[in-house]
């Protein structure tokens, strides 16, 4: 089952994406953000909150003078480490208690700071490498089973309830569990601390919650003889911090998109570009698979019309991920089954798009998202649409399959909803397992023509973006009809130019 598409158009799209990303990368290289700096501290071992519940990484980065900040927090922190001889966690506590400040050691030479940082950097890198090795060994011992990998969401707001739901879903056949974040966490400029039992529409992403879920999934995975992957969100204002916590707690996947936050959460574009880069460098090293968010183009606008934008975004996401050192096998590009069910031959269009993505990104673990936009309270129709989505996924060999819920648009999934969704997917994927290998597309038929049209329009769109520049294009509303100015949106005040001598030890270690 192969679409005959022109490889020269695909190659043209890739080189356009490279030209789109290049000027942005120059910007990224000259800047850092408060979130990048906070994740440096987290990796060094700074954690916890003060009496006012302010996370210590925030407290320390916010205490820097503009001159210190332009050098990166590592140097100021490293100077204090060198002078006090304390461990990072203990030093942060001292600063939080007001017994010392990062301003007190400005005279210490940078070389001493680097020297004091080195063992802690090495320890963090070794810990992350150890986590990556644990995953590799676990997957060897207990393989996941064949793709499409069934991915379900838990979202009760209470991490302990989520744990019950996740274990039940794993028993029912889920291979990946994603803990949806509390609504609004993407706009918090800090990561909450500790286990949490209250959230809205989801559960707060905290390092403690990560650890609780990881342990539960390891236990049930051993019991079932199948490694169960854990997913969370490195998106919003704390992308790189979540990426560092995820690396330390062995999450397996992170939702991480180079443009999603800009377009759909009004996060400043410069902030997002810088943050996504460092978070992806971390993800690359920790072996975490990213999931990009192209489904959002389809939920906010017409899915047939937006198909070229989805493909263009996939090319751009791939390019940014490559530039951060990610191999194809960790780049889970997104797509979704969101065409209006009332449209005649809509299923053919879905197949065209899914297969097109599969062929253009053959080594990417594609993430296929279920229908949400056209789901109503009619759970019976919803279950049927989900079945068609499941069929498309298995036919076109998608890798990560987010199971659609019959109660989508009604409530966050009940335990029984999840079981029904997994049964639906297992039934369809089993009964049609090799269907895609047995059929071929009619030459120049509806499906092939649609795929070619989408690819052609994607190239036109990328040409337009390349001509204007990515930042200007986003400002002009080229993507998803959303206009975002380069200096507008949330988190812009947390972006700063790197000064002479800027130092981020992890950036160096990750590049090595």
């Amino acid at each position: 089952m192969e679409l005959r598409i022109d490889p020269s158009v695909v190659a043209a799209c890739r080189s356009l994406a490279a030209r789109v990303a290049r000027p942005v990368e120059e910007f990224i290289a000259g800047h850092s953000t408060v979130a990048v700096e906070r994740s440096v501290l987290r990796l060094l071992g700074v954690d916890g909150v003060n009496a006012e519940e302010i996370p210590l990484p925030n407290l320390l980065v916010d205490s820097l003078s503009p001159e210190q900040r332009a050098q990166g927090v590592a140097l100021a922190f490293g100077r204090a480490l060198a002078e006090t001889g304390l461990e990072p966690a203990a030093l942060a506590e001292e600063i939080a208690a007001g017994r010392t400040t990062l301003a007190a050691y400005d005279a210490t030479p940078a070389a001493a700071a680097r020297g004091a940082l080195a063992p802690h950097v090495e320890r963090a890198m070794a810990r992350i490498a150890g986590r990556r090795e644990e995953r590799r060994a676990a997957l060897e011992r207990a393989p996941q089973g064949e793709p499409p990998l069934l991915y379900v969401i838990v979202a009760s707001g209470n991490i302990y309830e989520d744990r019950t739901a996740a274990v039940a879903a794993a028993e029912a056949g889920a291979q990946i569990i994603a803990v949806i974040r509390s609504t609004g966490q993407s706009l918090l400029d800090f990561v909450p601390y500790g286990p949490t039992t209250e959230g809205f529409g989801g559960t707060y992403a905290t390092q403690a919650n990560f650890a609780i879920m990881r342990e539960a999934l390891d236990v049930i995975g051993e019991k079932l003889g199948r490694y169960i992957m854990l997913t969370n969100y490195a998106s919003g204002l704390c992308m790189p911090e979540i990426a560092s916590m995820a690396a330390l707690e062995r999450l397996d996947m992170l939702l991480n998109d180079s443009m999603y936050g800009i377009l759909f959460r009004d996060i400043n574009m410069k902030r997002t570009f810088v943050d996504q880069h460092f978070s992806r460098m971390l993800n690359a090293y920790s072996g975490i698979i990213i999931n990009t968010g192209e489904d959002n183009y389809l939920t906010t606008a017409d899915a047939v019309e937006q198909a070229p934008a989805v493909l263009a975004s996939q090319f751009i996401n791939e390019e940014f991920a490559h530039r951060a050192g990610m191999p194809d096998r960790q780049i889970g590009l997104g797509d979704a089954y969101e065409i209006d069910p009332a449209l005649q031959d809509g299923f053919l269009f879905q197949v065209a798009q899914a297969q097109l993505t599969r062929q253009i990104f053959p080594d990417a673990p594609l993430k296929y998202m279920p229908p949400t936009k056209h789901m109503t309270g009619d759970i019976f129709k919803g279950h049927l649409i989900d079945a068609m989505f499941n069929l498309t996924s298995v036919m076109t060999k998608q890798t990560i399959h987010l199971c659609g819920m019959l109660t989508e648009a009604i409530h966050t999934p009940f335990l029984g909803d999840r079981a029904l969704a997994i049964e639906n997917a297992r039934y369809v994927m089993n009964t049609a397992r090799h269907f895609g290998d047995e059929i071929s597309f009619k030459p120049d038929g509806l499906i092939e023509t649609r795929a070619r049209d989408v690819l052609r329009d994607c190239r036109t769109l990328l040409e337009k973006v390349e001509a204007r520049g990515l930042m200007d294009s986003i400002a002009a509303g080229v993507f998803a009809d959303v206009k975002r100015p380069p200096d507008g949106g949330r988190g812009f005040d947390g972006v700063f130019a790197r000064g002479e001598g800027y130092y981020n030890p992890f950036e160096e270690a990750l590049r090595a």
Binding site: S182, S186, F200, T300, G416, A419, D481
Partner: protein, 254 residues
């Protein structure tokens, strides 16, 4: 209309007044034949007769799923039930613009937001954005509306401040997330704050979201509530009609 002998209605399976209802649910117990029986007795205790557990199975350790049929022993007189719709103002964009031009003679200022922590702007965007929803243009497109889409996660206090500062005529509050009643809490907080600021009567206050009903909106003190599938012109028509009525009333008082 099929009305049974009593004048009341019941669910209809294949015979009038058979009362047939299907239920499905999960019980937090390991599946066994006794679990099926537990499900049956539970549904009988809910007041259903002729209960049949047609499917019962284990879906996880300690959890079982059931599909059950029963006959309702209750009935209702549907002719006595009223649920007024806010969508009774079907007008086209041109008609709405004309009505406002004619009766108000000025642009109407509309502000919309996802209030509280809700970050899901799908609904408010469908109503306000130029593009609209299902081929029905959004309020931005109307000549007689000046719109302010404040986006997601707008604190109730901020929303009210903007309403005051920008002299807003109509406020649209959206809530998609309903977990643990967060939608009702936020909607209620908005009404209360508007009342405290003496602004409630100055604005047309509308709530929206997939779980919102007009009845629920009325109970919370809103002028109207719009649920799933609402078209922008339905909201626009309501605002225009309500404002036009207010103008009439003011004239009448003079």
């Amino acid at each position: 209309m099929n009305i049974g002998q009593s004048g009341l209605v019941k669910p209809y399976g294949d015979t009038l007044d058979d009362g047939k209802v299907q239920l499905s649910f999960t019980l937090p117990i390991e599946w066994s034949e006794a679990a099926d029986e537990a499900a049956r007795q539970l549904v009988a205790k809910m007041g259903f007769a002729d209960v049949q557990v047609v499917e019962g199975r284990r879906i996880a350790t300690g959890f079982s799923f059931f599909v059950v049929y029963g006959s309702s022993t209750q009935s209702i007189d549907a002719s006595k039930i009223a649920a007024p719709s806010a969508k009774a103002h079907a007008m086209s964009m041109e008609e709405i613009d004309a009505l406002l031009r004619d009766r108000l003679g000025r642009k109407v200022r509309v502000a919309g937001a996802c209030i509280g922590t809700d970050a899901h702007t799908v609904g408010i965007d469908a109503i306000l954005n130029m593009k609209g929803y299902k081929g029905d243009y959004g309020l931005e497109r109307y000549q007689m509306f000046e719109t302010f889409n404040l986006g997601s996660q707008v604190a109730v206090e901020e929303f009210v401040r903007i309403a005051k500062d920008r002299q807003i005529d109509a406020l649209l509050a959206s809530q998609v997330v309903t977990q643990k009643g967060s939608d009702v809490k936020n909607f209620t907080a908005l009404v209360e704050l508007l009342e405290a600021e003496d602004l409630r009567d100055q604005v047309v206050l509308i709530c929206g979201g997939p779980r919102v009903t007009n009845l629920m909106a009325a109970e919370m003190g809103y002028d109207a509530g719009f649920g799933r599938g609402t078209l922008p012109s339905e909201v626009a028509g309501f605002i225009a009609t309500r404002l036009a009525e207010r103008v009439e009333k003011t004239r009448g008082q003079r």
